[in-house]
Structure formats: C-alpha cells, structure tokens
C-alpha cells in the first residue's frame, strides 16, 4: 500500500510569480517523459520481473517518481498562486487558466492532457528495462531544456535536483538490466513460455 509522508522529497522554493514558466514546467507533470508517466510505467512493470531485486527497484523508483510528480505540481502551483489576472492574461498560461484556473492539471507544455499511451509495459523484462533507461535520459534532457528557459533560482535548484535523480535512476536501471540479462541467459529453461510465444508468433507470420 502507499502511505503519505507530509514532506516533499526536496524543498521547493520559488522566488517569482511566473505563469509562463509554470506552463513550460507542466511538461514534466503531464508530458510524455514526465513524472506521472515515469511513476505509472515502473509501478505497472513490476509484476513479472524475474529477479526480486528488479521488483524492488521498480517499486522504489516508481514510488520516488510520485514524489517528483508532487514536487513539479508544487513548483507550478507556487509560480501561479499569487499571479494577478493581468499577469495570467498576458502569458501562455492563459489557455490553461480558461479550463483549470490555477490548478496544476497534468498536461504537457503545449496543453495536451496526460495519457497512458506515453508509456508501455510488455511482460518482457528486457524490453521494459530498455524503455525505462530511455525514459530517464529523455526526462534528463527535458529538465535541461527547462533549466535553460528558467530565470528563477529556487525553481532551478529543484529542477537540478530532479535532473540528477534521472541520472541516478538511469544508472540503477542499467545495472539491473545487466543482472536480469545474466539471469535470463543462465536460466533459459525458465523462459520456455516466452520462447513459446515467439514460436507461435513466427508460425503466424509464416502462415
């Protein structure tokens, strides 16, 4: 089960009111490589990992991503919390405001709402862990874009923390991919089911 701890994972200090920046940072709340996609991806992929350590890692990183989602929502909220109607009207946040007001609703920076089609889960540990590593790199790249667009020192501290977490997660997923691959190669008999699936698929293709 999930418990709630009444802290953020890292202190979020926001030094300015900046609805335009809020709109950009929504990319990490509801975008393709954002924190919601990351958390749901890892928590969805846990069930069939062949190593107990891999189940643990997906559980733990998936949980950490939910904390990152909360940090991003907090940044967005603080950037618009005290914004005047005039400040909002003259910013790219105005379209968001028309629907959601100041609520940090999960869509991407261009206003496209969050969708589960941003991630996948294949019952294939190798395919999934590769997706996870790619996801961490894409999220790192997004944070670098956001930091370049932001002049708010407090926001940049939080974004830099989140960027570093992507690097660490990538490292851990890489280590786990190696362990899972070694295990699957040395326990081939256990993966007959998967092999069966492949044979059926090949037969179907040939027919």
């Amino acid at each position: 089960m999930f418990l709630y701890q009444k802290t953020l994972q890292f202190p979020v200090r926001v030094d300015s009111t900046n609805p335009a920046l809020a709109e950009l940072i929504l990319e990490q709340l509801g975008g393709a490589d954002g924190e919601a996609a990351a958390g749901l991806r890892y928590l969805t992929q846990r069930y069939y990992m062949p190593l107990p350590e891999a189940r643990a890692l997906l559980t733990d990183i998936g949980t950490e991503e939910l904390s990152h989602w909360e940090m991003i929502a907090t940044i967005v909220w603080k950037l618009v919390e005290h914004a005047s109607d005039e400040q909002i009207k003259n910013s790219p946040y105005a379209a968001h405001f028309a629907n959601h007001g100041r609520n940090p609703f999960p869509h991407n920076a261009a206003g496209v709402p969050f969708t589960a089609s941003y991630f996948n889960a294949k019952t294939d540990p190798i395919a999934d862990l590769h997706e996870d590593m790619a996801a961490e790199q894409k999220a790192r790249a997004t944070y670098e874009h956001l930091i370049r667009m932001s002049n708010d020192h407090g926001v940049n501290q939080a974004l830099s923390f989140l960027r570093e977490r992507e690097v660490v997660h990538f490292q851990r997923f890489g280590e786990m991919l190696n362990k899972v691959q070694d295990y699957m190669f040395s326990n081939k008999h256990k993966y007959d089911n998967m092999k069966m699936d492949n044979m059926v698929m090949e037969n179907n293709v040939m027919r």
Binding site: M1, L3, Y4, Q5, K6, T7, L8, Q9, F10, P11, V12, R13, V14, D15, E53, A56, L57, D60, I61, E64, E70, A73, T74, W77, K78, G154, V168, H169, R172, E175, M176, K179
Partner: protein, 83 residues
C-alpha cells in the same frame, strides 16, 4: 518569497534523501556491506529525528505511523506544497 522550512525539518529531509539513495543502490548491490552499514546508521539517526518531529508536530506519515495529541494534528498546516 517567505518559506516555512527550518533547520530541523531540512535535516529530516536530508536524512531521508540519503536513505532513498542508499535504498536504490542496495537494490542493485544487495551484497554491499559498506552501503548496508551506511543505510542502518542513517536509519538510526532518522528514527531519532522522526521521533522528535512527531512529538512536536504529530504524525509525519498517515495511516498509523505516529501518535497525535488532541486535537488531531494530521490536519494541521502547513501542507508540503504551502511550505
């Protein structure tokens, strides 16, 4: 902008962050004795810091992870996004 973070609270968050980091490291290095020692040492410090926090402010985690004084302290501000 004003902030409600203070030294005591940040110490708690810092300890927890180090524990998260070691937890992930141990997931891929379950036989690292050094990392496990660090983990257990930080858990001891975290337990002390949590106990002090809960005595003052009430539950830090919902659903049974800390007692509350009267009246029910869980509902007290600030919530994390308001700090």
């Amino acid at each position: 902008m004003t902030t409600r973070y203070n030294e005591e609270f940040e110490k708690l968050m810092a300890l927890q962050f180090a524990i998260v980091e070691l937890n992930l490291f141990l997931d891929t290095h379950p036989e690292s004795e050094q990392a496990l020692q660090d983990y257990n040492r930080l858990i001891e410090q975290f337990e002390v810091a949590k106990k002090m926090y809960i005595e003052k402010h009430g539950p830090l985690v919902n659903f049974g992870y800390g007692k509350s004084r009267f009246p029910w302290q869980w509902v007290n501000e600030p919530w994390p996004w308001d700090m």
